[in-house]
Each structure stands twice: as structure tokens, then as C-alpha cells.
Amino acid sequence: MNAVGKIKPNARPFYQKYSADQLKEALRKMYLIRRFEEGAEEAYMRGLIHGTMHLSIGQEGSAVGATMALRNTDYITSTHRGHGHCIGKGADPKLMFAEFFGKEEGYCRGRGGSMHIADVSTGNLGANGIVGGGLPIAVGAALAIKKQKRDDVAMCFFGDGASNEGAFHEALNMASVWKLPVVFVCENNKYGMSVSTERSMAVANVADRAAAYAMPGIIVDGNSIADVEEAIAEAVARARRGEGPTLVECKTYRTRGHSRSDRNRYRSKEEIEEWKARDPIPHFEAELRAHGLATEAEVTAIRESAEAEIAAGIEFARLGTDPIPSEVTRDVYSNEVAQ
């Protein structure tokens, strides 16, 4: 359904094809991601969560823009920095928090934690603790889609650093040779942990590598949800038509450190500030207002409802059920196996 009338005809496709409600829902998801991670970070500081976590603050534009073009039956494979992909694909933040808190109510019943959150019911095949681990898995999911004659797609998120793994090469090659419905979404945030793309690869863009697989390689501003969604929508359509995989590179930035232990020694304060000024959320809010699709008051209401949902989610998680230690070997196998 189209927000006919309300929107200028000369507006870019992104603002034409989605209704005002859909666009506002997208903004809400960006806020949910942002607040989810801020909430998780705070809970970690307060010692409520252990382990580590990788925040995608600053990258919400690519997470939501990429997943907007997907249906529930499409798959995604995500990364260690996957909270945004997860919420974008439709996961419930309170069940994610329950996982962070290690509770039975969590998506992985407390077994997986931040790096393994999955939500099979929404087609999310899972975050991955192994850089590049999800690349061939997405290709396999796409192969299954093709065998089952479905017109769904598999979307594979990965980072710039992951593109230096052999798994990247093998996965893109197979996807292309077999013309599989995969959309490879590289979130290039300029660094693989502390190593800049200048130091880890000889080409300027990850998309420059697509040619090695006779695959289109498209570069977009990852901090513009509209840019991301329009490029991805085309790649998804191409995949659904059976024309094979596409590599879309979203140029973006993580404003937080790589993980809890990062001291940002490899980048400058100026660089971080410069990118904070390009925050995808206010950018999207401004466009929504400029197109007359959302009022200041509506935006405030969206932000507040997201904050309320996050607060409730943390409460829900805190009150969750702790797993029983003696059940440690449960679910290693599908049927109980005497070991």
C-alpha cells in the first residue's frame, strides 16, 4: 500500500513504495536496536550480564534497511555483531534480553548468549561467533530454497574483515556458479577489530571483489536506510527471479569499540566524532519529516515506545528462569544419547 498524496511524487522510490506506517515502523526498529544495545551495555556494566558483546551502534541503517526487503520465510545468517539483524528480521527484544541474562526464556534457553542469538521462527538462522562462519551456511540455505522451488532468498550479513576469510571466497564462488538466491550484505565499518581495510586488503572496496565471481557488486551509504533498502530490494528481486547472487557493500561505522575490551587505539577521536555526526537515526528522522511522513511528536512517541519496550524487556529478562546446572548436556543431541 502506498502513502498516496501525502508524499511528493518526485521522492525517491524508498519513500514511494512504503506507507508512512511502514516507514515509521522502520524508524522504531532502529530505535529498538539502539536502545537494546545501550540497555545491554548498561546491564553489562552493572554486572548483570557476563561474557562479551559486540555493539552495532551506528550501523542500524544497514540492519533495518537490508531486512526491510525480506519476508518472514526468507533467511538471514548473521554475525557476532548481529543484534540489529536479529531485530530487523523481527525478533522480540525481551527474548533477546532473556538470552543475554542466560535464562530459559531466552532464544537459546541461555545456552548461546549474544554471539549465538537466533530466531528460527523469523528465518534468522543465527548470529555466529566465527568470522565468516555464516557465509557458506547462507549459501546452503539458498541451495535448499532452490531445491524446494521456493522464491525466498537467503541474506548473508558479514563484515569487511570477514571478506579476507577463505570462506568468503568459497561461498561467493559456489553461490555464483549455482546461481543461488543469496544476497551478500557486507557491513564495511572500516575495521576488522583493530585492523583497517587499508591494512587488511589491497582493494578499496569489498564490492571490488564481486567481479571475481561474475557477481554484481554494489556500494551504498550504509548510514542511509533509503540507500540500503533500494539497493537490497533490487538484489532481492534479482535473487527471487532466479538470476543469482549480488554483493551489496554498506559503508558504515561502529561508534562503539569492537567489544568490551577495546581501547580504540587504532582510530582517532576525530574519526569517531565525524561518524557520530552521520548517525543513521537522526538522518532518517530528518528525511521522514522533510517528506511530511512523520511529525516531531510522532518521532518522540516512537522513541519513547521503543524505550518503554526495552525497559520492559530487561525487567522480563531479570525475572526469567535460570537453567538447571545438572541439565548441561541437554539438547546436545535430538534424542537422549547415552554417552
Binding site: Y107, A118, P136, K147, A167, Q339
Partner: protein, 330 residues
Amino acid sequence: MSVRELTYAQAIQEALAQAMDADPSVFLMGEDIGVYGGAFQVTGDLVHRYGEDRVMDAPISELGQAGVAVGAALAGCRPVLEFQFSDFATLAMEQIVNQAAKLRFMLGGKVNVPLVMRFPAGSGTGAAAQHSQSLDAWLAHVPGLKVIQPSTPADIKGMLLAAIDDPDPVMVFEHKLLYKMKGEVPEEAYRIPIGKAHVARAGRDVTVVATSIMVHKSLEAAATLAAEGIDVEVIDLRTLRPIDTATIIESVKKTSRLACVYEGVKTLGIGAEISARIAESEAFDYLDAPILRLGGAESPIPYNPELEKAAVPQVPGIIEGLRNLVRGRM
């Protein structure tokens, strides 16, 4: 039920065909398994019967192939992946061990990873150190995987069909020297449960737990020793994970002596686990002698044929080892 003589390779091929007939979600992937028929001619002409979509030749990308199998399994298929030689699985350990084995557990039991991986393994073909390893103990060390190593045509057919039915990832180790071995195999599809050892020969004096080709070498040794009045019980372990400890304990309680015969490197090979399980079990009190292990040499597999033979247990060595064990000369 009608029974014919088939080779071990033919039995595998029949199992693969029957699995594909019964379930459209089953497909085969690997290197040169199509028109080439597989490096050991296991898939043979299956590509002509089932087409390239179900008998898929993949690029030489072992890690990627394993990951594709994991993804396809998550999305509703039942892939059967053939590694051309088990040695090349060293390239795919990430997907096998971090993904296939752990996904179900990491996701709180909310997914299954119903895939099968086949590993032609072992020495004896003159292919040297990078084409002759026995890495079964590696995968038997990994919770989340099931590991089988059938030693006869009838067992490989029944256990492979069980593996393809299994909701969890099953690793199948096939000794290359067994592919041409003949044996009676029922025609229809049947299952042999994973996790059950098989007493290949009943005996009173000593229990031998052997795997794969060593089952046959142990039976040969047992026949010779029988003539000397030494009655050997040979247990074909068949499944390396989960291990059927009960069957072994029962046997050792009867014979009071245990020997483990396996081709993998002796140190930390499967025999180490069998020995340790008995040494910590109630069967310990029944032991009248140390637990003997006859495993592969502490070296890579050499090219020279005589060195290659010397690198893994052979019948004369097994005979001597068991004789000394029973006669109390250890």
C-alpha cells in the same frame, strides 16, 4: 528378504540410492562424485539415475561444502557430503566442529542439523602422509557429532541409512581398503542402530575391541590363536560416538583381558578411550592383565610400501600381542 553379495562400495551406493528414493530432501554433494563416479567409484552412475541436482559436483572448496551442507540441513534438506579423502576434512573442521556439532546446543535445542559426512580414510594405498590418515578420534572427541565406522558391507548399508534418517550430524568413516570387500547384503532398505557395538566373534580368553579394517585383521588373528587354544572375543565397535561401553564391560567381565586394535595413531586414538572407560568401570576389578593397545605408529604414514605396512597394526603383530597378553607375558 533377498540377500546378495555386494562390495562395501556397492552397499554404500545402494543405501544412498534407497535414501534418495525414499526422501526427496536427500541429496549428495562432493568432489567428482558425478560423471567421474567418485574417486573410489562409490557414487558410480548415481548421477545418471538421479541427475546433477541430487548428485552435485562441487568446486574444490571443502570448508564451503561443509558450510553449504550445514545451511541446507538447517533449511530442510538432508545433505550427504562426500570428502574425497578424510585428510581434506582438515580444511572443514570449522564448519564441522563449530557449526554442525554445536548449532543445536547453542540454539537451545531449537534446530536440527540432519546431515551426513562421509570420510574415505586409512592407509594401504601408497598415497602417503596427506592421503592416508585416520582422524576418526578427532571427531569422536566432539559432542554433538555421532561417529560411525562400519566394517562390513551389510553394516555400512544399514548404518548409513540410519545416519541419513538421524536428526543429528553423523560422520561416517570408511576405510579405503574395505571398498572392494564383498559381503552379503539384504536388498531392501534396513537400519542398523547407531551406538550399538557388535560381537563379531564370541570368545572366553580375551576381549578385542577393534574398529574398521582392524576387525577383520583381529578375526584373522583370532582364527590362528584358536588353533593354539586361545579363544578370542572380537567386538566390532562400529560406533565411535556414542560408545557402547556396556557391551565391552560385559565382555571384559567374562574374559578378564582387554586389547584395543585400531589404525589411528596410538596416542589418543580410539583405543585410548576404550581402555580408559574400562579402567574406570566396574570391569576394572575383573582385569587379570594390563590393557593392551595396538594402534598406529607415532608417525605420519610413509610412502614406501614396507614402511607403510609397518606403520599400522598387522595380523602377525596382533597375534603376538594377544598371545602375550593371554599367556601373561606383558
